[in-house]
């Protein structure tokens, strides 16, 4: 590991790669480790689904019928079932792999929605100021006072089960998680608002929208990227949380639902440690890798934070 970093650093020094943004990123230890783990997990979900059974609900391939036979319940790990089976004869490895893939999809959409809302509101509030800013700031503060997980759970539980699709869950996660990011974008925009280049843009008759899109947005783009990654890991946590409680999407197997299945199926008391340890480890590795990526990016994009590197 250490020699790998040393050779990477040497390579970057030789090729002057070090002085580009990407070079600096890939010599950052935190970023490299986090990025590797994350890519590894994504690959695991795609390569694993080749090995797994095609349908997480279909047990007839290895049981022989659709009715779960007693001797196929709570199977220990074997070549056919790397993580064993649960109380309904379902293959846990398939559930893990498919769940990881679906959870990543949900998190991508949810993070996209929340980042978009946060960017738009943050840009408007930060650049225009005045009453609009007061209203948006008040709303964001209000929503940040209340723990978002409870609000999310409230919204999701009010939706009837039949209507709870993965897209809808992603949208609900997205629209409940914009306040924090919006405040960050707003404060970043406010730092740029009174800069000289904005005054020049105003003098050259740029319209407000042009100034926001052409002058301010490129300058805060790196922060928006950071916010996206942070929202992504928050969304995964949110989905696993509501899914484990049984309020996840009903049309897809997700990591949260796999957890719910493990808790509800009594796999803990049967002693099937391989199942819950692995599923939990995947969630932990996912969020930890994203944290490392975020810290690495912060280190490169915002060197002022070098001393503290705040926990995200």
């Amino acid at each position: 590991m250490k020699s790998m970093f040393r050779s990477l650093a040497l390579l970057s020094r030789l090729t002057y790669l070090r002085y580009t943004l990407l070079g600096e990123l890939f010599t950052n230890r935190r970023f490299v480790v986090g990025f590797t783990i994350f890519i590894g997990l994504v690959l695991f979900s795609y390569i694993g689904s080749l090995y797994a059974y095609p349908d997480p609900w279909d047990i007839s391939i290895y049981v022989g019928s659709t009715i779960c036979a007693y001797e196929y319940r709570y199977l220990p790990p074997s070549l056919g079932h790397p993580l064993g089976t649960d109380q309904g004869c379902r293959d846990i490895f398939t559930w893990l792999v498919v769940g990881l893939k679906n959870s990543l999809y949900i998190a991508v959409i949810a993070a996209m929605i929340s980042t978009t809302i946060a960017t738009i509101l943050g840009l408007i509030a930060g650049y225009r100021g005045g009453l609009l800013d007061d209203i948006i700031n008040f709303l964001a503060n209000f929503l940040m006072v209340i723990p978002m997980f409870i609000v999310l759970l409230m919204l999701v539980s009010y939706i009837p089960p039949e209507a709870r699709t993965s897209l809808l869950v992603a949208i609900v996660i997205g629209i409940t998680s914009w306040p924090g990011p919006a405040r960050v974008v707003r404060s970043m925009v406010m730092q740029h608002r009174s800069a000289d280049y904005i005054d020049i843009a105003k003098l050259t008759n740029f319209s407000t929208i042009e100034i926001i899109l052409k002058e301010i947005l490129p300058n805060v783009a790196s922060y928006i990227f950071l916010i996206y990654i942070n929202s992504f890991s928050q969304a995964i946590f949110a989905e696993v949380g509501i899914g484990a409680l049984g309020y996840g999407p009903w049309d897809a197997v997700t990591l949260g639902r796999t957890f719910n299945n493990i808790i509800g199926g009594g796999l803990i008391f049967v002693g099937a440690w391989w199942s819950f340890t692995t599923v939990g480890l995947v969630v932990v590795m996912l969020s930890y890798s994203l944290l490392l990526v975020n810290l690495g990016l912060q280190h490169v994009f915002n060197p002022r934070l070098k001393l503290t590197y705040y926990a995200v």
Binding site: V145, P147, M154, P160, V240, A244, G271, V284, L307
Partner: protein, 350 residues
Amino acid sequence: MGFQIKHPFARYVIRKAMTYTILWFLATFINFLLPRIMPGDPIRRFIERVYTMGQAPSGGVTQVIPEFEKYMKEVERIFGLDQPPILQFPTWFTNFLHGDWGFSVSYMNLPPVKDLVLQALPYTLTLLLPSLAVSWVVGNYLGAYLALKGGKADKVGLSVLQFIAQLPTYWLLIIFLFIFYVKLRWVPPTGRPSFMIPSLTWEYIRELLKCMALPLTTLTTVGIGGWSIGMRAYVIYQLNSDYIKYSKSLGLPQRVLGRYAFRNALIPQFTAFAINFGGMFSGNLLVEMIYGYPGMGALLATVMSNLDVFAMQAIFTFTATMLLIANFVADIIYGILDPRIRRGIIEVMT
């Protein structure tokens, strides 16, 4: 405005109080409106469940009671549910303030929601208050130690703490449950102190402590991670500030500088403690549900799974109220601890 409040701190407190009152009204109203615009009728579901004995007849509930729709109309008229939600709100709000929180349709005997909350709240507080207090104190000292020590210990410690803070509490609980119940049998399998009437006898307390051991350990472990990371960042921020640099140039010893930084870094931690104290009243849903601990989280999970809108409204409004009060207290504490606000040197908006 004819009069002006002279004292800056009084002005600060009054402005905060006004903001939070508006927020509270808003939160209560949204909480009331939301279930009413969502599809699904909890009363209908409850009556169906009672009359069909939990089984769904093929022809629906009208097969058992032919005049069901007529009865439903009557029920809605008696309780005023046929009116638009805006007109229902004042009635519900005054009832809520008078302690009438409605009935829970999750249970067949329709218990008052207030009784359910009063039963669950002591359990949640006895679990979460010690865990919050211990993790706050330990986390603060650990974070400050790492920040002041620096170097290798800081780097390794921070990585470990970041990993711990990322752990989902429910997963840690599951692993502890597996080790300490399934393998070692040191703790009971469920957090509900069974076959005992809650009392202050020694036997009951011992039973409760046994039941609390696992969730308490879990929440404290994860809590220490979060608190110490925050404290470390605050102490480092203080160490880089001008007054510390000035004191250093005067030749004050490192020990004294550390004490200065620690005391100032504690201010945001105090307010965060107050906010977390308010968040405590909703319990920890997943931990309590998995371990069957009879607190607010488990109550909320039960109530939600039955689409019990009346109980949900009351509980959410209660927890939001506690949160807003805690935030208000946190702002007051911040104002008292920070002399710049206390003496009106800086004005804080909203």
